[in-house]
Amino acid sequence: MSSHTSFWKRCKTWFHRWGSPAWFYRTSGLIIPWLWAGFFLLAIPGLIWGLSIAPPDYLQGDSYRIIFIHVPSAWQSMLIFAVMAILALIGMVWRIRVAETLAMCCAPIGAAFTIVTLATGSLWGKPTWGTFWQWDGRMTSELVLLFLYLGVIGLQQAIEEPRKAARAAGLLALVGVVNLPIIHYSVEWWTTLHQGTTISFFGESSIDASMLWPLLIMAIAAKFYFGAALLTRTRNTLLLQDREKNWVRETVQGEKS
């Protein structure tokens, strides 16, 4: 029992430590290079595998090779929105500034993943379906995701005071979460041009292993990229917000010398 309580206490201390901007700045600075290393170690073999070792598809030929960038981007675009909403919720309930800042820095990265999802999907649609764009459930809900990201960014920039801005935009992030199940289930609830779900984590995937592996590697690489990009942006924002504080003074002097 006593070891149990001490475990929770340690978790709590750890959680609180991340809440300190100075600690966050220092620790994230140490982690970022490792995240980039992980990204390159996965993305380079993943790309080579997907673009030159994986076989062509029996039906689509080579155009399916867009899957290795399209699907990891699509997953990531949805995952980032969920992460943003959870961080916004933590920021809202506990009033932790680091969580609020992290949530706000998710939005531009998530928007980038959504733009790539839409663009690569469009370029894949032309040679397979015969069209760049159709207003079916999957495509429309993914476009709505982009507008939600832009809404979060816009709302945050429209309000002067950064903490009020983060809380207002965080509320939009929380409400916007309802779009995530819509994107996922759009291909099941309605008839769509977009095909159904290929990869299932709880059942058999309908993609050959020679194509599935590079896809999963690219998907994990996207997570490393997101981590590195998010921490970099958050560090910048915290430094700017705290520019009059002592820890920034010490950090700036330390980085100059």
Binding site: L51, I66, A119, Y225, L239, V252
Partner: protein, 55 residues
């Protein structure tokens, strides 16, 4: 290694798809790195300016 698709009919879709992805992800990752460096310099200048003010 097999890059036959480069001369196939789908290269005009695959190459732009990866080029757009590369450009967007490169910009998203690098823009904050450069703005962070510039910001660090600006903050250092402000501090220097404040330190020079007689208190």
């Amino acid at each position: 290694m097999n890059l036959d698709w480069l001369s196939g009919p789908h290269a005009v879709y695959i190459l732009p798809a990866y080029a757009i992805a590369l450009a967007v992800y490169l910009y998203t990752a690098l823009a904050p790195v450069f703005s962070g460096k510039r910001q660090l310099r600006q903050i250092a200048d402000i501090h220097q300016h404040q330190d020079q003010q007689p208190s």
